[in-house]
């Protein structure tokens, strides 16, 4: 399982990344995350929706109500230009961290 702190830090870039692939709604996002992480990342909706809310307020995503197949309304989220920029910045940070880890772990493995 992934720690709470890591989930909190990663939710925003993960969401922005998912929405970069195209419009989606909450339940679909949760399912997608579950598949992608091999079941390791299970977001509760009590946590997901407030974050979506917040990202929308910050202008990184926007939303609209759209009828689904069964004629029910769903709220779909879409990434905005600001969101894309934010994602790039996040991506740079995550890659830096990843790079550091890769280097550290490769050298420590080599030594042992």
């Amino acid at each position: 399982m992934i720690s709470k702190a890591l989930i909190a830090a990663s939710t925003k870039p993960l969401l922005l990344s998912v929405l970069k692939d195209g419009e989606s709604y909450g339940y679909q996002i949760i399912k997608r995350m579950k598949v992608l992480s091999g079941g390791q990342l299970e977001w509760s909706f009590g946590m997901l929706y407030p974050v979506l809310h917040r990202l929308e307020k910050d202008g990184f995503i926007d939303s609209r109500w759209k009828p689904s197949g069964q004629g029910r309304l769903r709220k779909y989220y879409r990434i905005t230009a600001a969101g894309l920029r934010e994602l790039e910045a996040e991506k740079a940070q995550w890659l830096t961290v990843q790079g550091v880890f890769a280097g550290l772990w490769a050298s420590s493995e080599a030594r042992s």
Binding site: Y25, G26, Y27, S44, F45, G46, M47, Y49, P50, V51, H53, R54, K57, R72, L73, R74, K75
Partner: protein, 881 residues
């Protein structure tokens, strides 16, 4: 039956219910909720697709979701970017600032609404003061003789006496029983016999007739833990010639001298040396002043051996100390038949009465004083409840004004929990203030209350029970009175308040009416109780006693002064103010001796009469003012009268004789003629029926325990001065302590008098507090209906019409209360009256009067407010419409 969840479960309504719950959280907007709902539907659909039932799917989805509050908090966190630590209104636990705010607001409220606060606080204060007084009394009652180290192991022996006319249980038993029991049953650690006496005590030139004498066995002070001021409990009565005196009488005889080792003379018969000074606490039933041992009997020229062989004189009480760990039930079973072989005849069963039950229960286990403990506790509860009702009523009545406050607080994020705390802190603050006032009132009333109850009560804060009880009373009053406002006012929805501007709870009005009815039901019941107790007391004191108790004086005689009765009589009758003189073995209104079943001439086998008896001197009937129905009084000029009898009318009836005069009566072997029949007189407490009584003429020893003097009506001082003078000549050294019989008679009914006064006090207070509430309520209503009154008047209603309209509201409530109080009061008081063999009839006037009183008080309290409101000029009240 098997459950069929698929049919029972309705997904739509489940989802609707779920989202309704979400709506309670202030942080969730409608759009947010719709999104969450859409999510739930999606996920449920998916799960159903995987083969789950709708019910299972729904439960699985919603179970994984936090509570609405948690979701709301999550939204709040992301919305506020963590700037605020918690969502407004989501404060949990204690917040000092808010608590101070509660107090501040409460104080401000009290300041602004002085009138209401005054009614609330004074009503609560009076109610609490009542409760505290009664609490003190109750605590005192239940503390009797609990202070002994061995309290739980001490028992009193009582005997069930199976007589032809029923079982009577008494603690009086024959002398040899104690040692016999102790020899036979090893589980008995100690036995002490106990017999009251009265004697003249003399020390140097001081002499007094003392009635609080107790003869005991030396083990007495080891069994009971009365603290000794001087001397040792174990050794005090070891020497037969010793006497233990109570600390309070030590001063009376010895002043500042040390009493230890001083010699007291008792009735000129024996000298005993003071060997100990004992303190008897107020909450003990052993309120005696002098204690000496049965072993001292020989010093009084009494042969102890006679007593030790006498199984027939039931004149002693027995206290038994059980060894640690012995079972009282087991011992009781073993001793129950102990008297049978020693006293053949009817069945007499020995039982044990625990020491701690003696004060509150009768020997047969029925309620004694316990009944009053129950009744008064109930009354205290009533009065307190009535006071709390005032608070509730005024608080809910004013809810309209407070609704805006509630709305505002809620809008600003105040939670219901906080509002509840706010209201409780208000009621608790009121009750804390009321407690202060109540303690002040208790301090003022305590001396009076002690006098009324006849108990020296004190407000001892150091006592954990008292302090705890008082705090409990205040807390209880605060919580009960805050309960409804807290729960009701806090439930107001802010939207509704702001939209409609006013809020009138029909439910609250109904509850107010109910509470007013409750108050008046309780008050009216107390009035009914007071009236009936009063009428019973009046009935007792005005009842034809068959005896002229006025102008009758008696002197308690001592063994040595008894022989002087004939001389005294001769001398006393010389005074014109003294009409008649006689003597008797007991006071005629309190005959406690029973002679048993007697035989008489012409008795049929089915007539069994258990007689009470009294030894009297000649002229007894005349002296006491009894009425002769047939025959005559005893006369000293007719020698045969010494073997004759006078009976009362009850005896005559029970014997089944038309004209008993001249018939032979067999008085335990002594045969004689019945010379007279007297009309029944009140020979014992009126709780008990007049007993069949036989009087014998006797001039020896104990037959002359009381010298009786009939004085001429008018100023008795001459006759009494003469009595003292004659007495001093004939009985020098014996104090002449006379008493008026009617005073002693009235003392016998002190309990009823006391009950009446307490009832009167509490009934008056209950009515007062109820009316106080009505004053508050009516002034509120008058205020609230100012416009209604204005419109009515503008449309032509008269002031009188308006007043009667408003009064009718309250009249209806009071009448309903009466309808409840009458039957309840009737049955309760009817049961109380059953304890009296002679009782007043409960007339309708009692209820009518109680009803009229409660109505009158209610109208008076409501009236002036209503009058003022009705008299107002409609222009004033309607000007701004």
């Amino acid at each position: 039956m098997k459950k069929r969840p698929t049919q029972a479960f309705d997904l739509e309504s489940a989802v609707a219910e779920w989202s309704r719950k979400l709506r309670r959280s202030e942080a969730l907007e409608d759009g947010t909720i719709a999104e969450l709902e859409a999510h739930v539907r999606d996920e449920v659909e998916d799960l159903i697709g995987q083969g789950k039932s709708p019910g299972e799917a729904f439960r699985e989805v919603t179970a994984s979701v936090e509570t609405p509050d948690a979701i709301g908090a999550e939204y709040f966190k992301s919305d506020s970017r963590g700037l605020l630590p918690t969502m407004p209104g989501r404060t949990t636990g204690f917040t000092p600032a808010l608590f101070l705010n509660s107090i501040k607001v409460s104080l401000r409220k009290m300041h602004r609404q002085k009138w209401y606060s005054l009614i609330n606080v004074s009503g609560l204060a009076v109610g609490m003061a009542c409760s505290i007084l009664i609490l003190l009394w109750v605590r005192n009652e239940v503390s009797y003789d609990r202070f002994h180290a061995h309290t739980k192991d001490i028992y009193r022996l009582v005997m069930d006496d199976h007589r032809a006319d029923g079982v009577s249980t008494r603690p009086w038993l024959p002398f040899p029983l104690g040692p016999a029991l102790k020899n036979e049953f090893p589980e008995i650690a100690a036995v002490s016999r106990w017999a009251p006496e009265d004697m003249v005590v003399r020390f140097k030139d001081k002499a007094h007739t003392e009635t609080e004498f107790l003869t005991v066995d030396p083990a007495f002070f080891e069994m009971f833990s009365f603290p000794f001021v001087e001397g040792s409990p174990a050794r005090a009565l070891a020497d037969p010639a010793s006497i233990v005196i109570r600390d309070t009488v030590a001063r009376k005889y010895f002043g500042d001298e040390d009493p230890m080792g001083k010699v007291l003379n008792l009735s000129d018969r024996a000298d005993l040396t003071v060997s100990g000074i004992v303190h008897i606490p107020d909450n003990s039933d052993f309120q005696f002043d002098f204690f000496f041992s049965f072993q001292a009997y020989p010093l009084f020229s009494v042969n102890l051996a006679d007593y030790e062989a006498d199984w027939k004189a039931f004149n002693f009480q027995f206290y038994i100390l059980l060894k640690d760990g012995s079972s009282a039930e087991l011992l009781e079973r073993k001793i129950s038949g102990f008297l049978k072989p020693r006293l053949p005849g009817r069945e007499r069963v020995l039982r044990l009465q625990p020491l701690r039950r003696i004060h509150l229960y009768n020997p047969d286990g029925t309620d004694g004083a316990m009944r009053y403990v129950r009744v008064f506790s109930l009354i205290a509860g009533f009065v307190l409840l009535i006071a709390c009702v005032n608070f509730m009523n005024l608080a809910t009545a004013r809810s309209e004004g407070r609704a805006r406050e509630v709305g505002l607080r809620k809008t600003l994020g105040g939670t219901r929990g906080q509002l509840i705390r706010q209201f409780f802190s208000e009621s608790l603050l009121h009750s804390a203030l009321a407690l202060g006032a109540a303690l002040f009132l208790v301090g003022l009333a305590l001396p009076l209350f002690s006098r009324i109850t006849g108990r020296p009560l004190g407000l001892d804060f150091a006592h954990a029970g008292i302090a705890g009880g008082i705090i409990a009373v205040a807390l209880l009053a605060g919580l009960v009175s805050g309960l409804y406002p807290a729960l009701f006012l806090s439930s107001f929805s802010p939207v509704r308040i702001i939209k409609t501007a006013t809020h009138r709870g029909g439910r609250a009005a109904l509850l107010r009416k109910g509470l007013v009815i409750l108050q008046f039901t309780l008050s009216t019941m107390l009035i009914i109780g007071t009236l009936i107790v009063n009428s019973q007391v009046a009935f007792i004191s005005s009842r034809d006693l068959g005896m002229a108790k006025d102008n009758l004086v008696y002197v308690r005689m001592q063994k040595k002064s008894r022989d002087s009765v004939d001389t005294l009589r001769q001398e006393l009758l010389k005074h014109p103010g003294i009409a008649a003189v006689s003597s008797s073995s007991q006071l005629p209104f309190d005959i406690v001796s029973w002679i048993g079943y007697l035989d008489w001439e012409g008795r049929t086998a089915d007539r069994q009469v258990y007689f009470a008896f009294l030894s009297v001197d000649s002229d007894f009937v005349r002296t006491c003012g009894l009425r002769i129905l047939s025959g005559r009084d005893f006369s000293k000029d007719i020698p045969a009268d010494m073997g004759g009898f006078i009976i009362n009318d009850t005896a005559r009836k029970q014997m089944g004789l038309e004209d008993p005069v001249g018939k032979q009566l067999d008085f335990l072997g002594r045969k004689g003629q019945i010379v007279g029949v007297v009309k029944d007189f009140s020979d014992r407490h009126m709780a008990d029926a007049v007993a069949p009584l036989v009087m014998t003429m006797d001039t020896r020893g104990a037959a002359r325990s009381y010298l009786l003097l009939r004085l001429q009506p008018g100023d008795p001082s001459g006759a009494l001065g003469y009595l003292r003078e004659v007495w001093g000549k004939i009985n020098p050294g014996f104090p002449c302590e006379y008493q008026f019989l009617d005073e002693s008679f009235n003392r016998m009914y002190a309990n009823e008098q006391r009950l009446f006064r307490i009832f009167l006090c509490f009934a008056a207070l209950a009515v007062f507090i109820s009316c106080l509430g009505l004053v508050g309520l009516s002034s509120y209503m008058a205020e609230e209906k100012t416009k209604e009154i204005g419109i009515r008047k503008a449309l032509g209603a008269s002031s009188g019409g308006i007043v009667s309209l408003f009064l009718m509201n309250f009249v209806k409530l009071v009448l309903t209360a009466n309808a409840i109080a009458w039957p309840v009061g009737y049955f309760t008081m009817h049961r109380w009256l059953q304890d009296y063999a002679y009782r007043t009839s409960v007339g309708f006037w009692v209820f009518a009067l109680a009803g009229a009183l409660s109505l009158l008080m209610a109208l008076l309290s409501v009236g002036w407010q209503t009058l003022r409101a009705a008299a107002a000029n409609p222009v004033e009240s309607l000007r701004y419409e």
